[in-house]
Symmetry: D2
Subunit: 360 residues, 4 copies
């Protein structure tokens, strides 16, 4: 386990030197999927991590290189079966499993292991909510891996369990949190979020085939039926101290990665919108309010942990409109997971993470 | 000029036989752009049309085959200069010109020529609106080429002038018209419409380069600043008989064609939503409410004049959500133009138009 | 069965009038796949065809609208089980089945039914070739549906059986046939053909997922192992009267439709290359040699039955380079099938087919 | 200037600690383009570099954040005019300028500055070749930045001038070098390389618009007319010690980044192909021969400096077929530039570079 150096002013690679002889040993369960692959991509450039066991379900026994050919340094690793035995003996275990599988695995890992669940199982605080939306018994809730929410960072320090947020809740909550916190907007917001296809995972479904996806746009989970809806509501309501309703519609677009969320609500409070957002995120390493003439693009955050956002007011309607972009696999999943691990362990929060996108 | 046969029950190609010796002579101004090219693509399969002069601005003198290589039967046509002389002597003139150029050209064409303006110049009824949004003097308004709006078809019969709707107003207005007409929704609606890049035309702008567009999503004209906003408001307010506010945000996605609009508003009236929509479009040849379990995709309407839509109610919020898909170049521009021409001339409304998309 | 009107000079829709009261009744087996869907798309605009039974394997019982939402006029059709009973009583049956399934079905259809096999089963003339490449007993060979090959059209007139060519053999053979026929090139040619994903069908394979395909290029069937290799060799060798070797490599690219083939071989014979190609295709309705300054794009042939090609000579190497573009689903599959049907039945060859692409 | 530590066995971030207090000061001319942007993206994760002046031509005066929004840490930098003054005082200057501009700038920078030219000006050794292909006087040739070629690394050590290879020559030369070196193949090879659009730069050309590019494939520079042809020939001929002819055809495909090259030639020599390739690249950090059952994809090298390749023999034809994938902006341009800088300065060759791609 590493020595905690806190959030020192060390910039660039200075902390790399300090960490170099103390590495966290990490396992990844579900290493053959998109979320697991992205966790590994980030860990490969993390200076304080040693990558241990990699496990899978149906793909156990395969070389990682065949399933994740972009992870060249790990190409010869062979995937083990996901089990308590293979995951034992690590400081940190990332779970990138289908919904409903995390609790059982976590229970076997012991209380000293840091367990970071990229799935949905421990996100919702309300058991009834969980049962309504997922149709199974609630596994309980864990500290929520979105440190940029009000008091979000505190809950993660020293924790042994992290529930990584959903990708849509991440971008929507960060887009609206400052407005909600300052009582700026009414209780009913509308979010339409356009996403690349990797959010749906490596599932073999006809509607996810390249031939179907390219050249097409489609909505799904319309009418408040997408499972990320209660999670967005939970986040915003917690900030507001009252119920915030959210009309949420996800749209699938022909790109592998990226979410662009358009979030709008009537303005009911006072205050300079831009100042409120500037203040809210002034010290955040990953959330960037763009200069006034510039709008976010998902290409600019590809592979990066950054959130790029812009706010404006539709003066005719007195409505707030916030547009925010993330990479659904990075800040939307694996980046948040690594960021949360860093906070939980007392590592520099940005270790292994970047605000530089791969564009064009 | 053709003999009017009205909307007879002739199915298939029966009317083709009747029309075969009476053809409408058509010119297209702006034949080198995307809208002009799509008008030509449709006219090439129109049984009652003879394609006359093709004109352009900077591209005058070029072979059409070099600029529109998909229009093989017209490849050897040479583009003439857009002028009153080259456009004279046609029964119908399609104007696919930059905004602000149509009125001057139309004035020279004489009152007996059917002039169909694919540009914005004659869409807005209110001169002050026009001046606010386009910053130039109002050229007046012409009958609006969206026959599926309440009483929309009547205004087009026999007209010599047509203002072809904007692509976003087409899909948004058709998505919401039945709800507005039946007093179903509140006065403030939110529309987020995701579009392919051809809606921006063949403009040489960095943000429209393939390298910038592919793999990226971006919003533009945010905060009620897109010029299609007043046109949507105009359409819905005319139906309602009162002001309907619209929060409109367009999003650019990596595909050449297609718009998917998500339209939502609080429900305030009574009535079975599905029945209202079924009735509204039961007899429309191009607007299709999908079966209840199916959501629209833009791929399904590629190159077709169809609108595919689906409605639902978010019961938690009592909000209406309508999702509608069109091809922005077909039903969103050139298809509406041809459809309007057909109505204006008394030809079968569907001549030269299809409800069959090119997928996958 | 229609009255044969031959290839008269009737242009436009004239023949539609003649055909209007005599329709060919057509069934499509495999209507839920990409090839079957494209056959239906084309038949929907064919003036002399009535669409009868639509059948499927695993999708039998489903509404076509759910599986092929772009075929709106057929949306309410229900797919029947593929069987001799459901396919009986039609003048023409299109088979769009997995390889190996056609012969058994065809055997049950009777000798008077025109059977058009979009699969590979009856393409190869040599039984040993078939067994080597497909690993099953040879079902025999049928007249080959590529009328633009030397004497190709003759073999199709009046036939009751058609083997529709593979998509890569179509574009490669047409690109090289004139050069081979005139003894222009050496016996070893290299073809690298880049294809969209629909050529792989609606198969649920990880490497065909949108997330995998978009933003990626990959080769497959490298080293002469793709099953279309012997078919290209067969076509070119038949023209040459001697064995022509072909090094063939297919590449998968992120677009749904289209193949662009680059075909090159050392020049060994005499003759003006351009003149040879001009003469070869001067009277072909679907094969277009582009003007000298223009190169083919697949976008220009999207949804069209056209082949666009260009030839040049690398003077430093005295090599011929031909680049040709088709839509793999149209001229590469379903367009060739309909074209062959037209010839077989004595209908106008271009009925239901277009040389107009859907671009951009 | 850094202390040379050679190619020590220090793995991970160990050398970062050594370099941390001695940074190379670097300027980038042409920072607003794709090549310049990619150089900066890589430098931002290079532990031994301090980013100094950023210059541009027409974009001088602009914030970098507006032009390269993915380079968040540099967003507030303002672009200076490209001039000897602004570029003075740096240890290393990267030139990412249009062809023909590098020599004049380099001449003003003094012999002690390491100048790394991402353009073509100093790639060709033969003045007549240069004049034939580029139509201007030859500026001379510089050490060639492809260390993986035979003796390639030696030429770069300690050099003050580097000519960064073209993207197509990089992938083609690495794909064929081992075969040429071992006399395995005949003197005439065929290369067909499919590329993403960023290779064409941020040029405002109609054929590079997203609407034109998406859904389309096209060839260009066909018939041996692409300017990278003589560079490939130069590389292979230098290895062979005799003239190697290359038939080269580039194809444009709808993705922003990535080149997949298919390279084929008749086998004339003896030797185990796989062993030859294995040995050739066994110790190369960036060139990876894949396991026998696996073929390269460009997605796997997105943003990485890796080359993934696979070799096979078409036994029917006794032809070698090599397929290789790179990211044209990384290994194809900016990665090679940084790698060459590292070698020239005696830094660890892999500093700032990765073999991990961003997928899916």
């Amino acid at each position: 386990m590493p020595f905690t150096i806190g959030e020192t002013a060390l910039s660039g690679f200075a902390w790399a030197c300090i960490l170099i002889h103390m590495t966290v040993r990490v396992a990844v369960a579900g290493a053959s999927g998109y979320a697991g692959g992205e966790v590994l991509r980030l860990l490969l450039s993390h200076p304080g991590v040693e990558i241990g066991a990699l496990t899978a379900g149906g793909n156990a026994g395969a070389r990682l290189g065949q399933l994740q050919p972009h992870l060249l340094p790990l190409a010869d690793r062979v995937l083990a079966e996901t089990s308590a035995e293979t995951l034992a003996g690590h400081d940190v275990v990332f779970l990138a499993l289908p919904h409903g599988h995390s609790a059982a695995v976590a229970a076997q890992l012991g209380p000293d292991t840091v367990v970071i669940d990229c799935g949905a199982d421990h996100r919702l605080t309300d058991a009834a909510d969980w049962e309504r939306w997922y149709g199974s018994p609630h596994a309980g809730h864990w500290p929520y891996g979105l440190p940029e929410l009000p008091n979000g960072r505190e809950k993660l320090k020293g924790t042994k369990r992290v529930a990584v947020p959903g990708c849509y809740p991440t971008v929507s909550s960060l887009a609206l949190a400052p407005a909600v916190e300052h009582g700026l907007i009414a209780d009913e917001v509308v979010v339409v979020a356009v996403s690349g296809t990797s959010g749906a995972g490596k599932s073999l479904k006809t509607n996810l085939l390249g031939s179907e996806v390219m050249g097409s746009l489609s909505a799904y989970g319309v009418g408040g039926t997408h499972r990320h809806t209660p999670e967005i509501i939970q986040n915003l309501s917690a900030i507001a101290g009252r119920r915030i309703n959210v009309s949420f519609t996800p749209v699938l677009a022909p790109l592998p990665r990226g979410i662009l969320a358009t979030c709008t609500a009537p303005i009911v409070g006072e205050g300079n919108v831009r100042e409120i957002y500037e203040r809210a995120y002034a010290n955040e390493p990953f959330v960037h309010l763009l200069p006034q003439d510039q709008w976010p693009t998902t290409a600019a955050v590809l592979g990066s942990n950054a959130v790029q956002l812009q706010v404006t007011v539709d003066e005719d309607l007195r409505r707030l409109v916030v547009v925010a972009a993330i990479d659904n696999l990075t800040k939307g999943t694996a980046g948040a997971a690594v960021q949360s691990m860093n906070i939980a362990l007392g590592l520099p929060e940005t270790a292994g993470l970047s605000t530089v996108g791969v564009a064009p």
